[in-house]
């Protein structure tokens, strides 16, 4: 089509989307930096290719294991591990929630005095600073092998997770309701019950359900360092290259996690 140029057509006729990084120099510098990093990083990886080629056959066996999982031959071990994992999940979630509610109240600046706020935020930072596995190593060294160490680990990390999110949530509540309840002459605990808890309860329930899910997944991990649970069974199965038993365990984990997610979405819908 023959376009008729308008008299004042000084503006460019083609449009380009705005660039992600405005300055051309920065754009080039970022691109070169990324490429240099990739070259360095990929260059520093030592890969034993003969081992990898061997691994391809193993990967085939692993995927075959997923198609024909073997639940029966190690069923006793799997059952014991699952019972440990599930009981650990329940007890540590309950203990973790029970402990994290007071910590969360203490770590909310609009409720707690400054000294208590500092103490509770320090507890949260401490509980969050290390991975569950590292904490589990220490609890195993202190309390001996078994699910008790796993229970303590998961309870501690539940506090770090739940108390932080709950405290942030309490800090963001609507102060008008608190003011209104306090104006009726309510004491501290009455304010907490009628003005604070009613505002954060849906979120607390949602987070708790999410944490059940996380605790179950983590209970599969702490077993690797001897803190009980299905992880130990899985580790043994993989050490023996029994991929069909390992696949059975993994399928069970996936099924339970899916069940937890389904249940938690149901409960969240029901509470809101």
């Amino acid at each position: 089509m023959e376009a008729r140029t308008l008299p004042q057509a000084a503006a460019p006729r083609t449009w380009r989307p705005p660039r992600l990084i405005e300055s051309g120099w920065t754009r080039w510098a970022v691109a070169v930096g990324v490429l240099a990093y990739l070259a360095l990083a990929l260059g520093s990886i030592e890969v034993n290719w003969t081992r990898v080629v061997e691994g391809v056959a193993r990967a085939g066996r692993l995927f075959a294991g997923f198609l024909t999982p073997d639940f029966t031959s190690r069923w006793g071990d799997i059952q014991a591990g699952m019972i440990e994992s599930l009981t650990m999940t329940v007890t540590s979630t309950v203990a973790g929630i029970a402990l994290s509610v007071p910590v969360a109240l203490g770590a909310a600046r609009n409720i707690a005095p400054l000294w208590l706020y500092a103490v509770c935020r320090a507890i949260i930072a401490l509980a969050r600073s290390f991975q569950e596995v590292i904490i589990a190593i220490f609890f195993v060294a202190m309390f001996g092998f078994g699910p008790l160490a796993g229970f303590l680990t998961l309870s501690l990390s539940t506090i770090g997770f739940l108390a932080k999110l709950l405290a942030d949530d309490i800090e963001e509540i609507d102060p008008v309701q608190v003011e209104a309840v306090r104006a009726t002459g309510a004491g501290f605990w009455q304010v907490i019950e009628y003005a604070v808890s009613s505002q954060v309860m849906p979120r607390l329930i949602g987070l708790s359900m999410y944490r059940v899910d996380i605790n179950f997944r983590e209970s599969a991990v702490v077993g690797i360092v001897g803190a009980g649970g299905i992880g130990a069974t899985l580790n043994t199965a993989l050490d023996r290259y029994e991929f069909d038993s390992a696949a059975a365990i993994l399928l069970l984990i996936i099924a339970i996690v899916m069940l937890c997610e389904y249940a938690s979405s149901f409960i969240r819908k029901w509470t809101q």
């Binding site: 989307p17 992600l20 990093y37 990083a41 990929l42 520093s44 990886i45 030592e46 890969v47 034993n48 081992r51 990898v52 061997e54 691994g55 193993r58 990967a59 692993l62 019972i83 440990e84 599930l86 009981t87 650990m88 329940v90 007890t91 309950v94 600073s129 290390f130 991975q131 596995v133 590292i134 190593i137 060294a141 202190m142 309390f143 001996g144 078994g146 699910p147 008790l148 229970f151 009628y194 997944r217 983590e218 599969a220 991990v221 690797i224 360092v225 009980g228 992880g231 899985l234 580790n235 993989l238 290259y241 991929f243 390992a246 993994l250 984990i253 996936i254 996690v257 899916m258 997610e261």
Partner: protein
């Protein structure tokens, strides 16, 4: 709202719940407590309580051995630290490459087929998310042999589900009017995606990737415990020979790495939003 009234019909006081609601809540609490006590008894059936009573002494013993840290050991940790950062970064990059198309296949408004492709994509996302990266590490060390490569693939396999899930939720929440407007100009599917969807998704995409990178830095510090390279490998080696002063140095290094990555993440996120 239930109001308790006197026999004469005068309201006495107000309650939050009716009597049946109170009963139901009470029964719910009872069931929860009973379940917890039952689980506790099953869980601690095999516990040796003598070890538990001994725990404070053990703790004092371990912390006594951990101090003072053997600072000279830090010189041997730079290479594992570099490996750890590489595992996290390359694993995240691989997961972005694989997870982004997966998210578009899983989102209801972009998937080619709701009946066939979407359930498969969702199943991949759920499987990847259900299994912790340490367990992916165990699997991959068994398959590929110990080393950094197993760590990268483990991190990537765990992150695909995370990035896929958050991104497909973001895709489902985009503003359809912009997509409609681009389509109305006669744009093809690729152009609709490039001009109608991608600009809306970029901030969410950036936040998700940086967030996952931060998590991956944390996870890659312990992946070595199962043999997948990085700082965890040094931790495992020191724990095996009970070299507690070295463990202190490694833990402090992990803590410093995590704090720096958190700071970087916060800076990048502020720049994006």
């Amino acid at each position: 709202m239930p109001v308790v009234t006197s026999p004469a019909g005068q309201p006495i006081h107000w309650r939050l719940q009716t009597r049946s609601q109170q009963l139901a809540a009470w029964l719910g609490w009872l069931a929860l407590v009973a379940l917890t006590v039952f689980c506790w008894r099953v869980m601690t059936a095999g516990t040796i309580w003598a070890f538990v009573e001994d725990a404070p002494r053990q703790a004092a013993d371990i912390f006594g051995r951990m101090l003072p840290p053997r600072w000279s050991y830090a010189d041997r940790l730079w290479l594992p630290l570099w490996d750890t950062i590489n595992i996290a970064t390359l694993g995240t990059a691989l997961a972005i490459v694989l997870g982004t198309p997966l998210a578009f296949l899983a989102a209801r408004n972009t998937t080619p087929s709701t009946l066939l492709v979407r359930p498969i994509a969702l199943l991949i996302i759920v499987s990847s998310r259900s299994i912790n990266s340490l367990i992916w590490g165990l699997l991959l060390v068994a398959v590929l042999g110990p080393g950094v490569l197993a760590g990268i693939v483990a991190i990537a396999l765990r992150s695909i589900g995370f990035i896929g899930k958050l991104l497909y939720e973001a895709i489902e929440e985009i503003d359809e009017t912009q997509v409609e407007a681009i389509r109305a100009t006669g744009a093809g599917p690729a152009q609709v995606m490039a001009y109608g969807m991608v600009p809306q998704l970029l901030p969410a995409f950036g936040t998700i990737c940086v967030f996952r990178w931060d998590i991956n830095i944390r996870e890659s510090t312990v992946l070595g415990l199962v043999g997948a390279g990085g700082l965890g490998l040094a931790l495992e080696a020191s724990l095996n020979v009970l070299a507690w002063p070295q463990v202190t140095v490694i833990l402090l290094m992990i803590l410093a790495t995590v704090l720096i990555s958190e700071w970087v993440t916060a800076r990048v996120r502020r720049a994006i939003i």
